[in-house]
Symmetry: none
Subunit: 416 residues, 2 copies
């Protein structure tokens, strides 16, 4: 048993405002046993649709985890549909009814009669106690396949899923473990990353413990996801560790994280390790660089202050940027970014100053300096560094990419 499907049941999950998140926890738990999720399907509170999807899933995977739709009301259909598809009669389990009744009474309430639906159990099913709610979960085995029914509320689902993984699920899975590693990369496009690492793919798939890899582009970074399956956590960790070193060997400093840390945490750890403090002068990013830096617990150790100089005269009065420099090069220019970085560095009396000035859009662009033009600088006592970027996208995307580039510039400066 090593392939699973997750079915999330609930009409609210098919609206534009709600997304299924239970499946993330379920996936994590399944992966601990080496079980991979082949697909996830989200269906509404609809008997026909759920039955069809369940039949499809039972034809494709060894274990189906259903979550949601175990409540007492008419639109909670999971229990009945699963029993129907698996051809099991539903019988009331009096001991469950008694437990639910007691739960209500302990709160001074009478059990509504509709809650008896939650005590209906398909013949042959294992009942999974619900320590945080009324609806018990169910585990139904059918030859080589099995179906779990879990309640939708996360605090009811999570402990139940954990016990399933320790018990019946573990008993039916092999002794395989699935491990993952996410390698995060800046300063390269998706295709250039792929070209660089492609030669590794062939090696990885030919290994005794093969590794599969996926490249993912997101805003301001590329992610390389590696996964491997083996008999022990140690083997998986060793194999993925070696592959990660291979990637770092090829991509060098472009790899900024191999353990899931975001860029601001990687930079934060570097600053802590070297006992350096930083101050930031931001214009177009409007505080985002500093907000990201201070998202990291303990960042008060190394973040001293920041100035968001949105108006030009704030650049002059708060950062000491010479007005003549702005007149000569324009507010969005490398010399002004450098003056902002050195200005905040000396005023805050810190080791590193960062300056960011640009045009986030949608207005403010010109043919020479279109929207997305951002000048970024970093300054230490020993050196300054600056670069003019052209980012693509809407205002918030330009802001994010600029913050990413600023954090990355400091990281590279410290590592080179």
């Amino acid at each position: 048993m090593n392939r699973a499907a997750i079915l999330a049941v609930g009409s609210e999950l098919l609206t534009p405002s709600r997304v299924d998140t239970n499946s993330l926890f379920i996936t994590e738990q399944l992966n601990l046993l080496g079980v991979e999720v082949a697909f996830k399907t989200i269906v509404g509170d609809d008997r026909d649709e759920l039955a069809t999807v369940l039949r499809h899933a039972l034809g494709r995977v060894d274990v189906v985890i259903c979550c949601g739709g175990l409540g007492p009301t008419d639109d909670d259909v999971t229990r009945e549909v699963v029993a129907g598809v698996m051809r099991r009669a539903l019988l009331e389990d009096e001991s469950i009814t008694a437990r639910i009744r007691k739960r209500f009474e302990s709160r001074g309430m009478q059990m509504p009669e509709i809650n008896r639906r939650q005590a209906m159990v398909p013949v042959g099913a294992l009942v999974l106690d619900n320590t945080n709610g009324t609806a018990p979960g169910l585990w139904i085995e059918d030859g080589a396949r099995a179906v779990a029914l879990l309640p939708g509320p996360p605090r009811e689902l999570k402990p139940m899923m954990e016990r399933l993984v320790q018990g019946p699920l573990k008993a039916r899975t092999g002794h395989q473990v699935l491990g993952r590693r996410v390698i995060r990369i800046t300063g390269r496009s998706e295709s250039h990353t792929e070209e660089a690492v492609r030669s590794l793919y062939a090696e990885w798939t030919a290994m005794a413990t093969p590794i599969s890899a996926t490249i993912l582009a997101s805003l301001g970074q590329i992610e390389l996801h590696l996964s491997a399956r083996a008999g022990s956590h140690e083997t998986v960790a060793a194999v993925l560790g070696e592959a990660t070193r291979d990637v770092s060997g090829v991509l060098g400093l472009d790899v900024y994280s191999t353990d899931g840390r975001p860029l601001e945490a990687v930079l934060g750890d570097l600053l802590v390790a070297r006992a350096l403090r930083v101050a930031v002068a931001e214009s177009c990013t409007g505080g985002l660089v500093t907000s990201r830096l201070t998202d990291v617990p303990g960042s008060s150790q190394y973040v001293d202050r920041a100035v968001v100089a949105y108006a030009n005269d704030a650049k002059v009065s708060l950062l000491g940027v010479p007005q003549a420099l702005i007149d000569q090069h324009g507010a969005v220019s490398e010399p002004v970014a450098v003056a902002m970085a050195t200005g905040i560095r000396t005023r805050a009396k810190v080791d590193i100053g960062v300056g960011v000035t640009g045009i986030a859009g949608p207005g403010g662009g010109s043919p020479e300096k279109p929207v997305g033009t951002v000048a970024i600088a970093a300054a230490t006592a020993a050196a300054t560094r600056s670069r003019l970027f052209r980012f693509v996208g809407e205002r918030e995307m330009v802001k994010f990419q600029a913050s990413q580039a600023a954090l990355d510039m400091v990281r590279r400066m410290l590592l080179q």
Copy 2:
């Protein structure tokens, strides 16, 4: 055609760390045409799995929207799998290749040969231009059914989906319209909101065009989602407009937005309308208040500057907060927040100053001032206002709630 399925393609969406969110926007767009989503399935970059799921979907719904897997690399399989299932040959469209080549050249890069895969088009498919990326979308009709292929990155997918709704999708759907309205609320709990609006529910369900309502709690706000279905946009808009006015009548100033605008945009519009300028002094929010304010296009009209005074001496030197005040009340206190707000206001010579000081955690708490304690103040020439909050949750949650409370304090000050 009024039933759709959404297939999100990408192995990363089957890991414990990523969730599909594209389907929310796609659902919203489909709903505009009265098309409901029957189910959503998430599959990995796996030819066999995707083919099976696609066949299942084509047997159940009129239109299938696939997103993701249109990239240039080997693990981008959507184009080929859909062509296979629909029995269409894939041919290179030279005009697409030329466009992609040009896009690379405009950035001074050469097109990698693998990008030619993105120019492959199933025979008879309509090509959907990608204004924000290389991969074009595709629309393939097959009798009464149709399949759309959209790229995964939201900024590429969204404009394409919007054009699909205006064009080929609209041409194939009926004349029902599903409308939704999101009412955003601050300063009330979920249950207090429910209690206040409950009496409206009965009226809404009894109307000729009934309205269904859902209350959703999210960080720092409550959302009330209304939806109605009718023969025309006008009817839907009229019915939802009236219900929205009912809610505002009951909840008053606690309703901050009825048209989807986030709080920072609502506040921005107020500042523009009254020609007021603002400056912000932040401590625990680390720049987040100002970053949110400057997420709004045109915010340079009313955001002058901000100071992130993370270290205490920055509060003194940059904002003129008296050291004695900090010694007496502590850095996290209403008097210090007020001094920060008035300090930044007078230094920046603007109409409104905002001060935020608190303990975001996980460290820094004490029995009297636990993690989550945040003092917020707003100051104008005429008045100051301040309040001490106790927010619950982790560091980033405290930061967000504090930024929400600060923006909301200024909004209420302007409206009262």
